[in-house]
Subunit: 152 residues, 4 copies
């Protein structure tokens, strides 16, 4: 499906997303950073380190879920006004291939914005040099909480 282009309700959306991301201690604990924020779109990058693995030496599924969840939240957040914050309602993800690469990159795009609910599609890629391999695909539902200033 082709996606519409979105108009952000808050001109400072990118700054706001970056501040909120920085306030998530768990993102720092795993070493993730928010690399791209555009209206309805977000990328979270994560260098692969030894303490992010499962028993076969691949990146743990929970790590991939975490950055997919985070990227989806900020893709939604980028479209919110300054008095609203996102809440993850639910998601489903498929692990298509084991997580491996120099870094993992989660790419999330809003496929249906809404007053109450925003639906986001998020993929996670293993990246080595410039070669990307799709490892996880997910479909997520976020709720807009009004009168909630988030961490900022």
């Amino acid at each position: 499906m082709s996606l519409p282009s979105y108009q952000p309700a808050n001109p400072d959306f990118a700054e706001r997303c970056r501040k909120s991301f920085a306030a998530q201690s768990f993102m720092g604990h795993i070493g993730a950073s928010i690399d791209v924020v555009e209206p309805g779109y977000c990328e979270v990058h994560l260098p692969v380190r030894g303490n992010l693995k499962q028993q076969h030496g691949y990146v743990h599924g929970g790590v991939m879920a975490t950055i997919a969840d985070s990227a989806a939240g900020f893709a939604a957040f980028s479209l919110f006004d300054a008095n609203s914050a996102p809440l993850t309602v639910e998601y489903k993800l498929n692990i298509l291939r084991p997580g491996e690469g120099e870094r993992m990159v989660a790419k999330a795009r809003v496929i249906k914005p809404g007053r109450t609910l925003t639906i986001v599609q998020a993929d996670v890629y293993g990246v080595t040099d410039d070669a990307e391999t799709l490892c996880v695909t997910s479909l997520q539902t976020l709720m807009r909480l009004e009168g909630k200033k988030d961490a900022t």
Copy 2:
């Protein structure tokens, strides 16, 4: 629904699950431990620390997903023979309440074992003293990989 009781295919299933869990570096990185392993059932416990949070001070959704995923994997693994290992195919989770408590506890039970696929239901509770609050519920699909000795 009421669940059947299961007969483990491998009498050393508990030892095998604990060894595999210990080989997951990410479990150590977040501080999780495998507390209970019974045939078709597993509990993963996680003390709540400051570096596991999202921007509002609650436990990050990715942390809850991680321990739900891990508990589900070992619930399935507990029923496998000694030459098989589990692979998470996919899951869906709902975040019912924000994650908070002294510790988070994931409880996973097999609802349908199978030769190829095993279906597991996993919940995550926030626990303070002895009071449990259900925070996450999930439904997961695992595949049995034959001729795979896991980490052990």
Copy 3:
């Protein structure tokens, strides 16, 4: 998990659910009926007929999804006030066994009611005489639409 007992906001909830069910032409087209409605709980029954099958002679997965969806909607609806109607946001289902039996029975229970969102767990059983076999399990998210009188 054990479920709380619920207090209906509308004393006429059962009558209201039955009227709304009767207004769904597709339920009539497949021959489904709403058999039990209690606060936060609903059962939809469906006699198995020849025109509900897939290519191997089992009940079509779409039929099982349909009655799971319907039962979940009315389990949520049973807790709503007289000015609200349910909307299915999303669900995930696992087909655990092929659908077969004299009739299919969907049983749905609210696991988390809420002002905006209600989370429901719904199973579908194949039933012959009094023997039930679990065929489908699902996890569903419903939204409450305020100021919406439904079909009644």
Copy 4:
């Protein structure tokens, strides 16, 4: 994500899909037809009739789930060899907008083929004249059953 082009294992895949579709009595009962079958891709079309509705006059969610499920099954089936048949393991769908239009069209594409499991993304559109509106998006897991000749 961009999708690869697929080589069918069975040159008669389209004929085989159409025969199997024709053997699903439930597709006839709702009036659906298989309109396009290409390697890893399938479209199922459904004229909207009065007996496919829910209580607000929109197409019932179960109807949209049914054609999404069916299209996904045949998108997977199109890549199988002549001795294998598809089984729906699980899916998750989001209803993005109410189902309405002259006809509903489900479009499914394989995003990850595999020896055992095939992952399919399927959308359902409401179509009036040539205008398409996305109503449902879904993510599905199918299993290949070997030594199973399907209905044909």
